[in-house]
Symmetry: C2
Subunit: 324 residues, 2 copies
Amino acid sequence: MRILITGAAGMVGRKLIARLAKDGMLRGRKIAALDLHDIVPPQAPAMDGVSVTIHTGDLASAGSSESLVASRPDVVFHLAGVVSGEAEANFDLGYRVNLDGTRALFDAIRLAAISPRVVFTSSIAVFGAPFPEVIPDEFHPTPLTSYGAQKLMSEVLLADYTRRGFFDGIGIRLPTICVRPGKPNKAASGFFSGIIREPLAGQEAILPVPRSVVHTHASPRSAVNFLIHAAGIDGAAVGPRRNLTMPGVGVSVGEQIEALERIAGTKVAGLIREIPDETIWAIVKGWPTRFEAHRSRELGFAAETSFDEIIRAHIEDELGGKLY
Amino acid sequence: MRILITGAAGMVGRKLIARLAKDGMLRGRKIAALDLHDIVPPQAPAMDGVSVTIHTGDLASAGSSESLVASRPDVVFHLAGVVSGEAEANFDLGYRVNLDGTRALFDAIRLAAISPRVVFTSSIAVFGAPFPEVIPDEFHPTPLTSYGAQKLMSEVLLADYTRRGFFDGIGIRLPTICVRPGKPNKAASGFFSGIIREPLAGQEAILPVPRSVVHTHASPRSAVNFLIHAAGIDGAAVGPRRNLTMPGVGVSVGEQIEALERIAGTKVAGLIREIPDETIWAIVKGWPTRFEAHRSRELGFAAETSFDEIIRAHIEDELGGKLY
């Protein structure tokens, strides 16, 4: 089993690599080689008997994608991309990385005639308001960010390249990944994680939107489970509609805070300060709330079923199982 | 009023030019200049006081799109593209013309900072089976051809470039244009026009699918009406969802034939020979049947309301009003 991972230095990439290093296997086959790519050098895991190759660079630059697939991977995890805020701030960079980079990788696979399973991380950012109360699997994607547009165009490419037989692609639309480990960042969605992560570390967190805001979340652990599951599922069972909205926990911010109180007490939850921010609120209003995600559940994708579970996953995976 | 038309040598392009030549106006303003582009030289209309410039070439080749927008058009009709069968047979050509050509044109407009109204002809080929009985406006596009994928990616670009303020785009998803004038062609959809056009010209036509097949049609005259209307509507009323499924007449092939009998008699309709073709039938099965098209109707787009009207439009526009 030879595996290529793009975006291997990112948060999800690092967690995927750790999981593969622990399992030593994918799709029931021993991992023989890992090709890890990112714009900065990803960290190589310690894996006995596994040939690990580190690649750095821009997928869209000439020859870059070709060199990545020269090892003829059986499974490609295409995670690379610039995030939403960056794609919005820098128009050219967003299209170059998120669209041209994806197309260059897909074309390199096509021309190498290796037909691997390709798992692509799309996003619920392909959807744009207004929405029904619960978004069905057959709801049309109408992105309201360039990032969402680039992810959607990549989904369309993935489906067409799969239909053509160039590879066997599965696009997974990730919900908001929560609780994101690490430092607070400037992403408009940052508070969803911040209001859990910071109080659990004994620090204040700012809530810039009303408690009534509803959003769908899955843990980093679930994101890795989605990727591993997508690598293994039967492509014939998926049919021609290759892009799947992942399951998650649809909750209000108020319910997130109640879960934090249940698990860590009122003192911890009391570290959240409500400071309304009209700019963030305006952005968040356009985001999807809840999804049916029938198809992905039927295909065996599973996430947490309560926000309590999401918090516990964070405590186990990031805090060594201990509360502050 | 300065107008650029790509794909100006095609059937719809020629009819649009004839209409503009007849009207002399667009959006209530006198036409001062026409830039006409295609891969072969489009025919210049005779229009007093209008500066007509003919361009030929490939939109995706360096500098080509830039030269088209140098005249700073107020309205761009982007009709250029290779058809479905060609995009399926020639993978590279389809992506180059239908995706890269569109993106090059959109980027040339963006970089020229002229912000025109851009009317783009998309297609119901963005949809792929299975479908509900009537396809709602919010149904997800899942193309089953490379042509459909390229049109959908272009729609996503159009919406994002509009949201960014680079231009004011309207994408119109055309139903099958029927009755197509001219010679029979090898398109799988050719019989929808052929079973009307050939009998009306006293010739036999072959029907390769069952009479129960349902499909949505609009006349070439309606296609031109859609384009003219799209050039003039208020962008603010359209909102962020810039791609609209056009109205049309959803009828079974049996109902098409009944309309032909009503208008031209049983002898003419008797020229249709049913010769089932499994290959064509397999393709046609994946095509959409009926659409709600609520949004486009609310925005004032109008098509024929019966297939009888579609046949009469053909007789008036192509046969000088006379039956065989």
